[in-house]
């Protein structure tokens, strides 16, 4: 932590990752090419962070010269990493947005199994919150609206069939389907807040 003030820049987030309760990587993105350039260094860092944080839910830690904010839910651990000079509250707002958006997509079942079943939604949410280290959006409602993701339900097979049938007449049905899903999400959002 040197004494200089942070350089004015939009590049706030150095890395974000989601680990399970064994410390295994489920998703991770590194945005600063100079920080842990190899997969081995990244996994070592994640291992070190996990060992130091999984026992106590402390929200914030300082490791290997990085500020790390984190949160856990059942068998999942969410981490957002920034430089030592970074405003901790900015990192916190990214973490909260990530957690709240996923929580809504997973219908409050923020646990490993459910997350893995909806992995594409998770990838899309992360992509909408951070772009190359820049905070793109930090309002969960906006993120959900942009991702517009439908959760895989038990009637998943029905959807496949539905998609298959509508495949030929997609052009017409798509618009109404889109409207339906967005209103459905907005209603749910209203409901939950």
């Amino acid at each position: 932590m040197d004494s200089t003030s942070p350089e004015p820049s939009l590049y706030t987030v150095k890395a974000v990752f989601i680990l399970d309760n064994d410390g295994t990587r489920l998703l991770s993105k590194y945005y600063d090419p100079e920080l842990y350039p190899t997969m081995k260094e990244q996994k070592n860092f994640e291992r070190n962070v996990f060992n130091k944080t999984h026992k106590a839910d402390n929200e914030i830690a300082f490791l290997e010269g990085m500020t790390i904010v984190y949160k856990s839910s059942i068998d999942l651990f969410f981490y957002v990493v920034g430089s030592a000079q970074e405003n901790e509250l900015m990192l916190m707002s990214v973490l909260n947005c990530l957690f709240d958006s996923l929580s809504q997509i997973l219908r409050k079942n923020v646990e490993r199994r459910c997350l893995l079943d909806n992995m594409e939604g998770v990838f899309l949410v992360v992509d909408e919150i951070i772009d190359g280290g820049v905070i793109l959006e930090c309002d969960p409602q906006q993120v959900l609206q942009k991702v517009n993701y439908r959760q895989v339900t038990e009637s998943g097979y029905g959807f496949v069939l539905f998609d298959y049938i509508t495949g030929s007449v997609e052009g017409q049905s798509e618009r109404s389907q889109l409207l339906q899903t967005t209103t459905r999400y907005q209603n749910r959002a209203l409901h939950s807040t």
Partner: protein
């Protein structure tokens, strides 16, 4: 889809997934299955699975077919795949037209992500083709489109600055958007495009600080820009920028308030009054229910406490409450802050608190704790026994290199500050090296043992620890142990026989360096001569290593009958600069430590490149720069005095601050007051606006009177002026001569003496002998304290204080100062000054040197 098993992705086979990807080519497209396969591919990439170029390209091309489907999630996953594969697949630009279509299409959900994916695969040449679309997208009324375009532009500034800078007007328009994220991204892009143009940044700041912003992120960015600008322009704290930052302390968003408080705390030269409002908001944050906010607050307060401990005392109560915080990082920071602000009486209690949880915190914070203890020892030396106890316990715990090094450094500094703690400290360190895996630390401790051990009442007890290292350790440690042993043998006659026996054993070591050292020391010790011991065992070489290397290389190139003369090698400058490391969690630097050539080696190199200065011999000493003009004048001139054996070279670094003038044939004319003789002027050929140039003056020192060491020169800058166009720099054809009077330049005795550190002053004193010893007593009437007297003498003579004698213990009425140096021409000179405080300070100076005139010179100049 695999529904059982805990992780559906766990046993994914890359080849199987790529096989599955063939269904991308089936008609009609099955969105759900394709989606799942894309997810698997991205998951594999994320796990670090390596994709070969051919297989990646194949999968990528198959994926492009999925653009025919209108399934939203599938399309979005295609964008992600494009971004993930941009670097591993070939010909990714094939999707350019599909993405351009989505980017300009009607579906708002696609447009933003399509822009981001497109910019990921676009280079400078292709960027021009989509420039029109990018400009439109930046000012698009849909926030996600505008944000995506702005952020993508920012990413591309690095590679295509010239194209992106044409979009400033659009970015400017976006900055007044109602959407908070668009505003933030626009501000970030604008700053990035303009950051090298201070005027434009100032204008931008003025505009936004007046109009106000909606986004808290944008406010944080603005605060950072403002504080950077304040720092660069050295703007006073009455500037509107400072007012703006201070006003942000009253923002309703915590993030902004914290950013502003942190910016104020980081400003250099902040007064206690200016800090107060920032400190009081941080104090409020200390009791926040949010751990991140408490952490941020206490970390920043910790920083304040380093420079202004009194400003933080108001928060002591809040900090005490944080000691029991369940987040150990917060507790550690709170304690270390309290250690800096607290009183002597609270130390014991705080130390007890720390020891209760030190094992639970990370190495980074352990280092912070050790550094806080180290600072505390300097503040309250009487507490050293408590600290030493605590440190020795920490030394026994597990921990990495940085942590152990911090503890060892701390113990060493306690030993140096408090002589009575020496024996306990050395005992702890001895125990530590018995089981130490870090070579650097072991050698450092062995060196310290060699230096301090022989002077303790019972030197023999250290021998065992040192010799154990010779038996058990790696080469580097063994070599250091041999050197340490030699010092015991040289200082303690009764130990000498046993040391010689041990040396004999070391001469059979398997490593060359260890054997060489042992043989060398063995032979020196057997001579039993004090002078040899002092020169070759205690005080070692004082030459600059790069200089020695160069001289030896030179010698081998031109073989001669004469033996190599050590005196031709330039001396090492500024031996042992003690840098107080700042007390903060250190981001471990990854820079390899290089032996950089010293400042003097660089000068030596530069001067030897000038033909007039060849044959002057090695450069003896270069002074610190002396300013010969005021800071804000037409021409800025500073002088560096280079001393050689019989000459001096004055280097004038001149800067022309007038943009309508070109100076030529610049020299500094010098008029000496004594019998110094100016031999030669080397002019600076031309001095354009704001480009520094150097001219030189060569002066011969008087041969006939070696005691004439001080002299005053009156200096005048002479030059030919050619007026020129301030915009183009094109000069007129003819010019005129002009001159400019500079301040006088002083040469003092300090310019003739180079500092040399003698680690063992007593031995050096004996080595020089009393053949030319002279002694005189002076009364320094105008000096009030011993500290002040010591400071004056050191800076006047320009010699190196040894044995830490430049630090005067508190509440003492007398002190002995030891100074060592080398006089021009290579004569060692040592000064012992006994100081006594009565009304003024009385000083008895004893000077020893290998040359009588040197002794006279020193005494004459002191008088």
């Amino acid at each position: 889809m695999i529904k059982n098993g805990s992780n559906p992705f766990q046993h994914l086979e890359k080849s199987a997934v790529l096989q599955e990807a063939r269904i991308f080519n089936e008609t009609p497209i099955n969105p759900r299955r394709c989606l799942h396969i894309l997810t698997k591919i991205i998951y594999l990439l994320n796990q670090g699975e390596h994709f070969g170029t051919t297989e990646a390209t194949e999968a990528f091309f198959a994926m492009t077919r999925l653009f025919q489907s209108h399934d939203q999630t599938l399309r979005r996953m295609c964008y992600l795949t494009i971004k993930e594969m941009a670097n591993i697949s070939e010909d990714v630009i094939i999707v350019t037209s599909s993405l351009t279509k989505d980017m300009t299409g009607k579906e708002d959900v696609y447009r933003g992500p399509a822009i981001r994916a497109l910019c990921r695969i676009t280079d400078t040449t292709m960027l021009q083709a989509i420039e029109r679309y990018m400009k439109q997208a930046i000012v698009d009324k849909v926030p996600s489109v505008s944000s995506s375009a702005l952020v993508s532009s920012l990413h591309m500034v690095k590679g295509s600055y010239d194209v992106v800078k044409r979009w400033v007007n659009e970015a400017q328009e976006a900055a007044s958007s109602d959407n908070i994220m668009v505003q933030y991204h626009a501000l970030g892009l604008l700053y990035h495009l303009r950051k090298n143009d201070r005027l434009a940044v100032t204008k931008m700041l003025n505009k936004f600080t007046k109009s106000g912003l909606k986004s808290p992120f944008a406010y944080c960015m603005l605060i950072r820009i403002a504080s950077k600008l304040l720092d660069e322009t050295e703007g006073g704290h009455d500037s509107p920028l400072f007012d703006f930052i201070e006003s942000c302390l009253r923002n309703k968003n915590e993030m902004v308030v914290y950013e502003a408080a942190s910016a104020i705390v980081h400003m250099p030269n902040c007064t206690a009054r200016e800090l107060a409002p920032a400190v009081s908001v941080l104090q409020l944050f200390c009791s926040s229910p949010k751990a991140a906010l408490r952490y941020a607050a206490v970390r920043t307060l910790n920083k304040v406490a380093m420079k202004h401990p009194s400003a933080v005392t108001a928060c002591n109560l809040d900090l005490e409450n944080l000691i029991t915080d369940s987040n150990r990082s917060i507790a550690t920071l709170a304690i270390t802050t309290l250690l800096k602000t607290g009183s002597e009486s609270s130390v014991d209690r705080l130390m007890k608190q720390i020891s209760s949880f030190v094992s639970e915190i990370s190495d980074e914070f352990k280092v912070v704790v050790v550094q806080a203890i180290s600072a505390l020892c300097q503040k309250y030396p009487r507490k050293h026994s408590v600290m030493m106890n605590f440190l020795s316990n920490m030394l026994r715990d597990d921990g990495g290199f940085e942590y152990k090094r911090a503890i060892v450094d701390c113990i060493i500094s306690i030993i140096e500050e408090n002589p009575e703690s020496k024996e306990t400290g050395l005992a702890h360190l001895c125990e530590f090296i018995e089981d130490c895996e870090h070579t650097v630390l072991a050698t450092k401790i062995l060196h310290l043992l060699g230096k301090e051990g022989p002077r303790t009442p019972q030197p023999s007890k250290y021998i065992r620890f040192i010799f154990n290292r010779v038996v058990l350790e790696s080469e580097a440690v063994r070599a250091a142990a041999v050197s340490a042993l030699a010092k015991f043998g040289a200082q303690n006659d009764d130990l000498l026989p046993s040391v010689l026996v041990l040396m004999q054993r070391c001469m059979m070591d398997s490593d060359d360096e260890v054997r060489d050292r042992a043989t060398f020391y063995m032979n020196v010790l057997q001579q039993k001569q004090k002078a040899l011991n002092a020169a070759y065992i205690f005080n070692g070489l004082s030459v600059s290593v790069p200089g020695l290397e160069k001289s030896l290389h030179q010698y081998t190139l031109e073989p001669s009958e004469k033996p190599f003369d050590m005196k031709t090698v330039p001396l090492a400058t500024a031996p042992i600069t003690e840098q107080k490391t700042e007390i903060a969690p250190v981001a471990t630097s990854k820079l390899p430590e290089k032996l950089a050539p010293s400042r003097q080696d660089i000068y030596q190199e530069q001067l030897s490149g000038i033909p007039e200065f060849q044959g002057l011999g090695p450069l003896f000493k270069s002074s610190e720069p002396v300013q010969l003009t005021e800071a804000e004048t037409e021409y800025v001139v500073r002088c560096i005095k280079h001393t050689f054996a019989r000459h001096m070279v004055f280097q004038f670094d001149c800067t022309n601050t007038l943009n309508d003038q070109l100076l030529q044939k610049v020299v500094v004319q010098m008029e000496p007051s004594e019998s110094y003789e100016v031999i030669h002027y080397v002019p600076a050929a031309s001095l354009p606006y704001s480009q520094p140039g150097s001219c030189y003056t060569l002066v011969r020192l008087p041969d006939d009177d070696p005691t004439a060491v001080s002299c005053t020169f009156s200096c005048t800058l002479k030059y030919l002026v050619r007026d020129c166009d301030p915009n183009t720099g094109e000069p007129d054809d003819d010019g005129y001569d002009d001159e400019y009077v500079l301040e006088d330049l002083e040469v003092t005795v300090a310019d003739h003496i180079q500092k040399v550190l003698k680690p063992n002053f007593g031995a050096a004193w004996e080595e020089v002998g009393d053949e030319f010893e002279k002694e005189e007593t002076f009364a320094l009437a105008s000096v009030r304290t011993l500290d002040e007297a010591v400071g004056n003498i050191v800076s006047f003579l320009g010699m190196q204080p040894c044995e830490r004698s430049d630090k005067v213990p508190e509440n003492k009425n007398s002190h002995v100062l030891f100074l060592a140096g080398v006089f021009r021409g290579g004569h060692d000179v040592l000064v012992r000054a006994r100081l006594a405080l009565a009304d003024g300070v009385t000083m008895q100076v004893t000077v020893r040197s290998s040359e009588e005139t040197v002794v006279d010179v020193i005494l004459a100049s002191v008088g």
